[in-house]
Symmetry: C2
Subunit: 208 residues, 2 copies
């Protein structure tokens, strides 16, 4: 799958390699993604890897996952800004909805690249495990900030962010194995009311 | 890591290979687990693979994940039988607690082998993706039965089982990447009251 978008100016080779790495890792994991495949998918010249990433696969994956964490963090903040109904449950629905859209458009090939990196490397590479942890922390931090912006009390924002990300990560695995977005719908149906109960209108029955 | 337990009679080679496959997949995924490694870890004679699994890695992994699903299902039912406090929240705490014990005893190397198979193969192998789906369904079905046995109404048991498994799978990924059981504690603290509110004593303040 090419990573060069339609009307956008083409990315320079280094950025193309990082975006290709993110896409390939989200589809087949870190272990399953070879460097040659990343180079081929990014239309980068031979020798690019050594040139741009002298630290090899560890450097390339670390940078790719750092970018993925930053993208996930910004996506959460953008979704929170655009909510029609400004509640924590609506934010969770929007986060799951973004994945529903991806699966509707492109099939069930992709999962979360950060989770894929964490699962593949937790036992085998402290460097990549640490990169995944930092990316996850960045994402959880942004989600905590977004929840606080929706009126969730400070001490509730962090644990609720962790619950949301845990449930989302697990549901993505289930959705991919079933080739069905049902698990995403189910966690939203179950958790949205719980999340809204932690919002500013908790107990008053009005969510905005 | 040897799969031959202390005082138990040694397993026959075929079963040793399957148990070694489960352990290795839970640690490093399907893609990261080579057949030679499985044979070495199970102390099986050379040539065992062709002899016992003429269908190759697909057959071995399919059988291993089927067993993992059956083990997960039985573990849930056993935990539900042994609960000191017979509530859905206590069952969730016991499920997370079983993983806490594993991490305390053996470090954070292992995750869920079913999730690892689903994540690694969802985009690349319909056969293994299907095996992971069936294993996950078996596990969710047993958990739904256990919840029903704890008084959760029939129509609530299946979606709550899915939420519990999603949150647990996601928290395992986070716990491994952080080398810390905090995410497991957090999802239990957040979800146990929600689950108990779906139990037979919902709204009455008594959980048994």
């Amino acid at each position: 799958m090419s990573v060069r978008g339609g009307d956008r100016p083409p990315l320079p080779p280094r950025e193309r390699m990082l975006q290709a790495a993110i896409r390939l890792i989200s589809t087949q994991g870190v272990t399953g993604t070879g460097l040659r495949e990343i180079i081929a998918a990014s239309d980068a010249p031979r020798g690019s890897l050594q040139h741009y990433f002298p630290g090899g696969k560890d450097q390339l994956v670390t940078e790719a996952i750092t970018i993925a964490g930053e993208m996930a963090a910004r996506r959460v903040l953008r979704l929170a800004d655009q909510l029609p109904s400004r509640t924590p449950g609506a934010l969770f629905a929007a986060m799951a909805g973004a994945w529903r859209d991806i699966y509707a458009r492109r099939g069930f090939a992709e999962g979360c690249p950060i989770a894929a990196t964490a699962a593949d490397t937790a036992a085998t590479s402290p460097v990549l495990r640490d990169a995944a942890r930092r990316a996850m922390d960045r994402w959880q931090g942004a989600l905590g900030d977004a929840l606080a912006g929706l009126g969730v009390p400070g001490h509730r924002a962090r644990p609720l962010a962790l619950l949301m990300l845990s449930a989302l990560e697990g549901a993505l695995i289930m959705a991919r194995s079933r080739q069905d977005t049902g698990p995403l719908d189910a966690i939203v149906a179950e958790l949205a009311p719980v999340l809204d109960a932690a919002g500013p209108a908790a107990g008053h029955g009005a969510g905005c």
